[in-house]
């Protein structure tokens, strides 16, 4: 006590803590100082998609094997037109390249449309909506320790349908909607994520997909038939198949490709024709939602009970609009400052929310109010770059998100088959993903990860 020496520190002499961020983040901060050009919504889209042509074209982040699909189609058709058509035009009819040409054009156009069209992505809930839903869930008489159920039951055409709450998009999913973990979006009338086209197949592009596989099966069968005829004609007169193949080597390649693909494509077309006729999705068929496995009398509530009407409604129904409004402008006061709560804040919220996504109900209410806390505490660093520059800093973006989205995706996959105790599953996985979350070198996120309840509550009414 008396022996200790306390040196009085002159506060004026203290180095002032620099409010400016470190240099490499500072440069990105400076970028924001530039006169703000109005930004479009696709630039801050929270899902894992890529955009081209100023938001006109949307693809999944992983293009899958789309280049392979396109390559196979182009190569096979090219070889067909080069090697087989001249011979067949001379010996049979000139309709053959015309038919082949029409089918080829159909296939390529519908393939590109399936890949580049918004499948029916549902935009994520705004923070106000999410808080409102959370309030409603909490209000359903939950006094017990167990977290409230994250499902809602509705009656559709005398059939009980369970609507699940999506933790990533913060809303109750409409019927037939599913969250694709590869694209990190909820997709309406989700059929499946097709790696061959590199996109999800959903409400808006199912008709393109169906037309693609049907026309592709016609094209493959047509080319297979033409090549067989061509080789048979060449081998006539005792010349033999080997001679024919030597004369037209391209036909050998086509034969192999077509032989192996025609069965699978025809099978797929047949399967999807059945789905269209019964107004089912691949997702529902695989899960057996309406097959009455549980012994109850369940029927598909969406079917029109008439094959013709089912086909017409799926394939020829009105084309719904894209809900994500990719080319729309962000509200003016948002491009610079995040004053109101429209699209930009959910982008930030979802990035932070991915980190804290499985903390349970209280955590979700806190995370809905987290953006204000995040922004005021640590505006510099990752949250800034993560949501404003998805293209310029892919390394920053991709590092934390795949790890977490995999865990989120796994959680989604895990919780979908079993509705019995989703809370238990999510709690078990929440520990894992929470650990994963904390490992990310991101001090800005770590600080508000567990805000004290009074703080969150005090911000909530003002939000």
């Amino acid at each position: 006590m008396k022996n200790c020496e306390y040196q009085q520190i002159d506060p004026q002499a203290l180095p002032t803590p620099t409010p400016t961020p470190p240099p490499h983040h500072g440069s990105e901060g400076d970028k924001k100082e530039e006169p703000r050009r109005p930004r479009r919504k696709w630039e801050v889209f929270p899902g894992k998609n890529r955009f081209f042509c100023e938001g006109r074209i949307i693809v999944a982040r992983q293009s899958g094997v789309l280049p392979l699909t396109l390559g196979l189609i182009l190569v096979t058709s090219g070889l067909f037109f080069i090697f087989d058509c001249p011979f067949l035009v001379k010996h049979l009819t000139s309709c053959i390249p015309v038919i082949g040409g029409v089918l080829f054009v159909f296939v390529v156009i519908t393939l590109l449309q399936t890949s580049f069209t918004d499948p029916g992505i549902l935009p994520r809930a705004t923070p106000d909506e999410a808080a409102d839903i959370e309030k409603q869930i909490d209000n359903t008489g939950n006094t017990s320790y167990r977290p409230p159920p994250r499902t809602k039951e509705v009656l559709i055409n005398q059939q009980v349908v369970k609507l699940k709450y999506c933790f990533t998009c913060k809303m109750f999913r409409p019927p037939r909607t599913s969250h694709c973990s590869l694209c990190d979006n909820c997709v309406e009338r989700f059929d499946h994520h097709c790696p061959w086209v590199g996109n999800c197949v959903g409400k808006r592009n199912y008709r393109f997909f169906y037309t693609f596989i049907v026309s592709l099966s016609f094209l493959t069968a047509f080319i297979f038939g033409c090549v067989t005829t061509h080789l048979a004609l060449r081998a006539q007169g005792g010349k033999g198949l080997v001679f024919a193949l030597q004369e037209s080597p391209g036909s050998a390649v086509e034969l192999v490709i077509c032989f192996f693909s025609v069965w699978s494509i025809l099978g797929l077309s047949g399967f999807h024709t059945y789905l269209v006729a019964s107004n089912l999705t691949t997702n529902e068929d695989i899960k057996g939602s309406w097959s009455g496995k549980s012994g109850e009398d369940v029927t598909n509530p969406y079917s029109h009970r008439n094959i013709f009407i089912n086909c017409c409604s799926v394939l020829c129904g009105p084309m719904p609009p894209s809900l994500i409004d990719r080319r729309g402008f962000l509200p003016a006061d948002e491009s610079a400052q995040t004053g109101s709560t429209d699209i930009e804040v959910p982008a930030l919220a979802t990035k932070s929310e991915i980190n804290v996504c499985t903390q349970g109900t209280k955590g979700l209410l806190e995370s809905a109010t987290l953006p204000p806390l995040l922004s005021t505490s640590c505006p510099q660093g990752k949250p800034q770059t993560a949501h404003t520059c998805p293209d310029s800093s892919p390394a920053v973006n991709s590092d934390p998100s795949p790890e977490l989205s995999v865990s989120c995706g796994a959680r989604h996959a895990a919780s979908s088959p079993g509705d019995a105790s989703p809370s238990r599953h999510s709690k078990a996985r929440s520990k894992k993903s929470k650990r994963a979350a904390l490992h990310i070198p991101n001090p800005a996120f770590d600080i508000p990860v567990s805000p004290t309840s009074p703080d969150a509550a005090s911000f909530a009414p003002l939000h």
Binding site: E129, I133, F208, S313, M319, D325, G339, P371, S375, T376
Partner: protein, 151 residues
């Protein structure tokens, strides 16, 4: 004390806004009892009791529901559009405005009209559901000026 950071979203607390303060927001959720068609619940929310007639509100929502039903109607016209599109490998969607889009424009005009005539004078604002991904009809309740702005 003022947070000057550009990323600050707590602006609502510290910054004095010239426009009327938002008191709260009410969300009218979707009604899935008829399937996946776009339809909103007509249940009158309690927060609006002091601001608007129940009948007026129900009429607005019902008209919106009817307009969406018209957009999604399966009938001769939509089948014709669909078949024509299929025959052209769906390329006509690039040049032509679909029936749905035409009805959406009609809905936008209707909502603007309702806001001007009925909702704005009562300190309410309807947000077009398309801006919320057709999930909800968002009704913003502004603070009553006569009471005075306050936090």
């Amino acid at each position: 004390m003022c947070f000057v950071s550009r990323t600050c979203t707590v602006v609502g607390i510290y910054q004095v806004r010239p426009q009327p303060a938002v008191s709260s927001k009410v969300f009218i959720q979707r009604d899935y009892s008829s399937g996946t068609i776009c339809k909103f619940q007509t249940k009158f929310p309690s927060e609006l009791e002091s601001r608007i007639d129940k009948q007026q509100f129900e009429e607005t929502i019902q008209t919106l529901n009817n307009l969406y039903a018209e957009a999604e109607k399966l009938g001769g016209k939509s089948y014709l559009e669909g078949c024509l599109a299929c025959l052209t490998a769906y390329t006509i969607f690039l040049c032509m405005e679909t029936h749905y889009e035409k009805v959406l424009k009609k809905i936008a005009r209707y909502i603007k009209d309702q806001n001007e005539k009925i909702y704005a004078p009562r300190g309410l604002l309807l947000t077009d559901p398309i801006e919320r991904g057709l999930r909800v009809v968002e009704i913003t309740i502004f603070e009553d000026r006569s009471i005075g702005s306050g936090r």
